[in-house]
């Protein structure tokens, strides 16, 4: 026999459809909030972020912390190993390596950031113009990109360094002169894609104004791509600077960068290996942190990522 359950009048009281406000649903997480949450859940990315903060701290305060002057030549303390007062030892002129490394890292990072900035801004404007005007303008600008792309980029960089000179400005120009091409392509592609996409068309049909479409669709999609572009270009610039300086085609003279320090250290590699190892390790750690953060962001910025 089936059990017969008796229902009370209260239970059978009709309530119909309640106001939407009363319906309990999961709070809507915005795109950026979701991305931050996903990033925070990623242990490796958070670890890298910690490394990055540490790196930033030392580039800002490192030279002051050691209390040693990074330019002071000290004939009595040449080529000494790491100790209590010279944490990373000294170079062949008796200068404190610890301070020098962080001063050098400061410049390397600034150069990388400025170059990335130039790349992103110029690339976005260029790509934006291409996508906005389309047609002939787009075709001509695309040809220019193809020409720039066909230039072996390191060759251009070397040539520019020769023309402008081996200084920071020269380096900035030389390293960003071809790199904007990738960004321009990304931005152009993204805008074209979005313009053709169904949901932007739907948004237009629903009366979404240009401002709304840009804010709701174009910016989030494009910005996340640009952030990823930035994360992969910063390590590239740090590398290129170091390599150019190493070849003697980058910075030189009194200017200190990680590349210059590694290059200086190389000559003493046989006898005083720490003079090269310390700047190299700092460079690797910085680049590693950027790469891992980039990886973490890639996952975090893609809402489809399932974790």
């Amino acid at each position: 026999m089936m059990e017969v359950r008796v229902y009370s009048d209260e239970e059978l009281q009709r309530v119909g459809i309640e106001n939407e406000a009363d319906v309990i649903t999961r709070p809507v997480i915005s795109y950026w909030k979701g991305a931050i949450l996903r990033f925070k859940k990623n242990h490796i990315a958070m670890f890298a972020f910690g490394l990055f903060v540490l790196f930033l701290f030392f580039t800002l305060f490192g030279p002051a912390l050691s209390g040693e002057n990074y330019t002071e030549i000290d004939a009595a303390n040449r080529n000494i190993g790491p100790n209590g007062s010279f944490w990373f030892g000294t170079d062949q002129l008796g200068r404190d390596l610890f301070s020098r490394i962080w001063i050098g890292a400061r410049l390397s990072v600034i150069v990388a950031l400025v170059c990335s900035g130039i790349q992103i801004v110029f690339g976005s404007i260029y790509g934006g113009i291409m996508a906005y005007f389309g047609g002939k303008v787009d075709a001509v600008m695309m040809r220019i990109i193809e020409v720039v792309n066909s230039f072996p980029s390191l060759l251009v960089t070397l040539l520019i360094m020769m023309v402008v000179g081996k200084n920071v400005i020269g380096l900035l120009i030389a390293m960003s002169i071809t790199s904007w091409v990738g960004t321009a392509r990304i931005v152009r592609g993204q805008i074209m894609l979005l313009r053709e996409s169904e949901y932007v068309k739907a948004s237009q049909l629903l009366g979404g104004g240009a401002a709304r479409i840009i804010k709701k669709h174009l910016l989030p999609n494009t910005i996340s791509l640009l952030i990823l572009d930035l994360c992969s270009s910063i390590p590239d610039y740090i590398f290129t600077e170091a390599s150019l300086s190493f070849l003697g085609m980058g910075l030189g003279g009194d200017i200190i960068s990680l590349g210059v320090l590694i290059s200086d250290g190389k000559t003493k590699m046989q006898f005083y290996p720490w003079q090269m190892i310390f700047p190299a390790v700092v460079l690797v750690v910085a680049v590693l942190a950027f790469n891992l953060i980039g990886d973490g962001l890639r996952d975090a910025l893609d809402p489809k990522t399932v974790n």
């Binding site: 229902y7 239970e11 059978l12 309530v15 309990i24 999961r26 996903r38």
Partner: protein, 336 residues
């Protein structure tokens, strides 16, 4: 009396997502007899596609079929098949076709090879023999110039033809069960009818059983023997096609009807869309899943899952309205 081919008992599927665990299917049970066509009907996200994929064991990470779910094919639990049994089951005993034929066909492999692959995997025949069979199949599914089409890539065919190729792959080994997951949704209306007609023809010729997944009641009418209406990861009503079409007992089934445009009803009647959105399956509402969108909702509906009630041979629905002494006046149409 016809014999039972497939019996699904208490199927539960969960998806682990960043936001939480999605309970995509929350205890679905149904059975399918030999030669029968069952339509699983419901809105997007109600769990019907996941149910279909579960039968083929095609639910992958982050999805998971919850332990204890039973998918009995000829009495044996598919969920417990080992690799070898599964390899023999898929493509031979059961086949599946998907909504988007373009995405379902390997873009870098000729359509012929994709059919041949299925034949060779299950039959000890020469490549030549397999090719002959594949060409024959292409012919059977209504593709002209099968010899030539055999050598083409999916992007060279039209949408309707691609779906025909998918059907050819599915029927390559005379499966006992065909699962068609929204097979016509991506196609033009005129092509839709042809595809459904083709599936029915092949099914009749080969005495296969079909599970047709669709959100379109119009498609169901032409082919289904029985219909199960899914909502929020559960079956809310099931019965013969005529039960569901003419004697709906669940307000959701009724609402689905009202949302279907009909040719025979001339002006005067408006299409009624169902207000609101399907429930969030990460935090499924307590009680009846339809309670947030049902205008007959009662207090009890928000607390308890409605019991499944029988309304005659094979006709079941889960709704509290039917425990009332009499249906409310505006719901009287659920009576018969």
């Amino acid at each position: 009396m016809s014999k039972e081919l497939l019996k699904v008992e208490n199927l539960k599927v969960t998806y682990n997502t960043y936001a939480g665990q999605v309970q995509a299917v929350r205890g679905v049970s149904f059975s399918l007899d030999k030669g029968e066509t069952l339509a699983l009907v419901g809105e997007s996200g109600c769990g019907k596609s996941v149910t279909a994929r579960s039968i083929m064991q095609l639910v992958h990470e982050p999805g998971k079929i919850v332990e204890g779910s039973k998918i009995l094919f000829e009495g044996k639990n598919v969920a417990e098949y080992d690799q070898k049994e599964l390899a023999a089951f898929r493509g031979k005993d059961a086949a599946i076709i998907f909504q988007d034929a373009m995405a379902s066909l390997n873009p870098t492999m000729t359509v012929g090879k994709q059919i041949v692959e299925n034949i060779l995997h299950h039959n000890k025949v020469s490549k030549k023999e397999a090719k002959a069979r594949a060409v024959d199949l292409l012919n059977k599914v209504g593709i002209n110039n099968p010899e030539q089409r055999f050598k083409q890539y999916p992007h060279e065919l039209s949408g309707g033809m691609r779906q025909r190729v998918m059907i050819a792959i599915a029927f390559a080994n005379d499966p006992k069960l065909l699962i068609a997951d929204e097979p016509t949704t991506a196609l033009d209306v005129t092509i839709q009818d042809q595809i459904i007609e083709l599936i029915r023809k092949l099914k009749d010729e080969r005495d296969a059983s079909i599970i047709l997944i669709t959100h379109d009641l119009g498609v169901v009418a032409g082919i289904a023997d029985r219909v199960a209406v899914m909502y929020g990861g559960v079956i809310v009503e099931s019965g013969s096609a005529s039960d569901i079409f003419y004697h709906a007992k669940h307000p959701y089934t009724k609402a689905l009807h009202d949302a279907v445009p009909r040719v025979d009803e001339v002006s005067g009647k408006e299409l009624v869309s169902i207000a609101g959105a399907p429930p969030d399956l990460i935090n499924p509402p307590a009680g009846c899943p339809f309670n947030t969108r049902c205008k007959y909702c009662m207090n009890i509906c928000k607390k308890e899952v409605p019991p499944t009630m029988k309304f005659g041979e094979g006709h079941e629905a889960a709704c509290f309205l039917h425990v009332l002494d009499g249906l409310p006046e505006d719901a009287a149409f659920l009576k018969d």
